[in-house]
Symmetry: C2
Subunit: 464 residues, 2 copies
């Protein structure tokens, strides 16, 4: 069923008219000190979950607090027999507030602050990450209910209280609630806009394979006067291994590394080329000027769509003040690969380990530790949900929504795919400068207001 | 003048007959706690110098204690107008004794201990390094004086009290006393025998050029999710630099590195080939089996006669427990080169820095710190003193004396050459297992006894 534009306009008008009340509710939520990593705030986390279940109840959700071995989940449903059912995910827990002295206003007392660009921001811990973001969806549902008496599509909501603690309870909870939470698509509201005028859907997330290697040569550190030249130097061996991982053209030299990696579609390449992205500025902001990845590929392609190999840490020998002419017996390196769609993290791990082993001298040895192993996530671009969401965002912001990638990994997205069988769409209204995890975290009033309006349109688009 | 063998035999017999008294004197010297690096033992160091000046006086030396800005020197002369004048060097200061709990007898109370091989050792701090060694020469002089009334050659003696503290006063003292100390050759008694049956003269010492490099890429550490591929990784850069320093054949790849390096003479090569040296055992003792230096050269050649490049320390990025996907902005390496005769340490430093700079990406930077810069020392093998000393040692030990190299650097040798214009001959009777600088330091009774006898013969050989 297509929804009359007049109904959508009425809901949007209600959003505009009731913004002060929406803000008051957000403020109440922010005041609850739901710091998940600090046991001192355990009761606050539960109070926060209860506040949310109660609020969802006031707008027709069959909502409840669900215990886990950690902080509780909140689940609410207004599902439909016919048409689409979507699952919305957010998290009510927040980061600690230290260093407290750097806050310009109390972290749990939301304070409106005028920004240099004329907008106004809500300054508080959780204003953006993720209380402000998740309430954009709740307020959109509230407006639909208030104006039309129902939601245009079936909706389940899942709020987690341990996202900032690594989501230890999420996978088991999804497993045990898979039937209850089964949906056609998952919306996650925890990401950024492209810029302050351009909305974005994050559709590609790189995966990760992280490894630690320890190379051992002699059975003790040696003196270079006595053994220099004759004894193998563990730092020389590990440096040669690291150097061998990249070719001069910036590509990764592990055999089979690019197997299964596909080129960007022309659509995506064209869309990225249209994005207002300053290649020079991106590197200049951190003091660099020459892209270090594969030659001939744009920076966006390098960081979103191409796999990488990074050396995250190396230590060996004498590293204190002054000098010791030691030949180190051991050297350690932490090395990680960002992966893209088509790469199997376990195959990459095995290929890397074979690459290293082939370069260990016969009288030396190496051990490996695997830290992370997660595949890349790529939202199918032909998805109907994606297209409708893109259209709704473009209408609301009057600017073509960006299909963005992200170089980082968001493990929960993999959990939704694996345990619920559903793709996730990452739609968020935060800004790059929101200082999430830092003092004076803020969420722009326009993010909140137009975020609610965006969800009003997205819900209508999905139904239509 | 050639000295009658009967006179030499008489002196040797006197050495044998008076060994108990020689030992008593050594014990008195050892009991003085002359730890140079600990200010609490300043008075002990002076007392030690006074004991030595006094003892030298009893055997006809014009001896005195000379003040420096640190611990005093002891200088004594019995020079001759005609014939050779030699300078003998030793040091009366000793290392600290910690950890005290590991000593099996009080460190400054010399204790005779039966060794598993049947020999007896003097156990005490300084028994070997260097009080026992330097007294072998003093006792040889004493025996010559007692039996013949004079020394067969002109002798000056220099005892230093700061060798374990890096000899800070030696260079200025040599400068100011150059005329007084001028000699035809310097004998230094502070090195090892080849093995317990084979005496050795150390004739080659490698030099040193030690450098620290710090590579800087971005102006801060970056997240590999956001920047991985696009931003240059300081650890990748430094690893590629390190890898580029060695060729697959084990040679050093810095341009001009081998300029001026000469091949071993056939004589030395043949002499080293005759040495009882176990190539496999040398590496097997430290858990290795494959020589890492230039292919086609023996281990002795690699560690004594060939320059090396060693990576002594590397640190960068996250090196703690667990994993952080950081792209490090900075990485540091400590790198040193052991140098041989013909290499100019400053040229090597400059060539290394040019090699590194050529490999720094245009948007990154590098800084250098120089720690040590010392040329190699090589005793001319055609030296008459060397030949005579070699003959005397071979006679005493009834085994061909070894012309040994040492991979390490002994800076004082360079000072003698530079400030007195004299080559140094390193003749010592210590053993590899003497635990110098460690608890339960020992000097074998046979080292002391046959060491004295060796000097008796060397003095005669020089005169003859």
């Amino acid at each position: 069923m297509t929804i009359d534009q007049s109904r959508i306009d009425a809901v949007l008008a209600h959003v505009d008219a009731t913004l002060p009340e929406s803000l008051d509710r957000l403020y109440d939520l922010i005041r609850i000190k739901s710091i998940s990593t600090d046991p001192a705030y355990k009761a606050d986390c539960r109070a926060c979950a209860e506040w949310l279940a109660n609020d969802l109840g006031t707008i027709g959700f069959d909502a409840s607090v669900r215990d886990t071995t950690g902080h509780p989940m909140v689940v609410g449903h207004q599902r439909r027999e016919a048409g689409a059912n979507i699952l919305f995910y957010g998290h009510y827990d927040v980061q600690p507030v230290d260093p407290l002295a750097l806050w310009e206003s109390p972290p749990f007392e939301p304070t409106l602050k005028k920004l240099p660009d004329g907008d106004t921001a809500i300054v508080a811990r959780g204003a953006s990450d993720d209380k402000g973001q998740m309430m954009t969806f709740v307020e959109a549902c509230r407006a639909w209910k208030a104006v039309t008496g129902s939601l245009p599509v079936g909706v389940s909501i899942l709020f987690e209280g341990e996202e900032e603690a690594g989501s230890p309870s999420l996978a088991p909870f999804l497993d045990q609630s898979a039937a209850e939470l089964k949906s056609d698509v998952v919306y996650v509201c925890d990401t950024d806009m492209w810029d302050r005028e351009t909305p974005a859907i994050t559709t590609m997330l790189r995966g990760l394979c992280s490894q630690e290697i320890e190379v051992t040569c002699a059975d003790r550190d040696l003196h270079s006067g006595m053994f220099g030249n004759a004894a193998r130097n563990a730092l020389q061996v590990i440096s040669e291994i690291i150097a061998s991982l990249r070719r001069p053209d910036g590509s990764v030299a592990v055999e089979g590394f690019y197997d299964g990696v596909t080129e960007l579609s022309e659509d995506v390449r064209a869309q990225w080329a249209r994005l207002p992205f300053d290649e020079k500025g991106f590197l200049a902001d951190v003091g660099l000027s020459i892209p270090a990845g594969e030659m001939g590929r744009s920076i966006l392609e390098q960081v979103w769509a191409r796999p990488s190999c990074e050396i995250n840490g190396v230590i060996g020998g004498y590293t204190g003040e002054g000098f010791k002419t030691v030949i180190p017996a051991k050297a350690t390196a932490k090395i990680s690969f960002r992966l893209v769609a088509g790469q199997d993290p376990e195959k990459i791990r095995d290929a890397f380990q074979a690459h290293v082993r082939a370069r260990i001298p016969a009288d030396c040895s190496v051990t490996f530790k695997t830290y992370g192993l997660a595949p890349a996530i790529s939202m199918p671009l032909e998805s109907d949900f994606l297209k409708k969401t893109l259209g709704a965002l473009t209408t609301e912001w009057e600017k073509e929504a960006a299909l963005a990638g992200t170089g980082g990994s968001i493990p929960i997205i993999g959990e939704f795919k694996q345990r619920l069988g559903a793709d996730a769409l990452l739609v968020g209204f935060a800004r790059f400068d929101n200082r999430v995890h830092s003092p004076n975290e803020k969420y722009d009033l326009s993010s909140f207001h137009k975020g609610i309006r965006s969800w009003v349109r997205i819900l209508a688009a999905i139904a239509g």
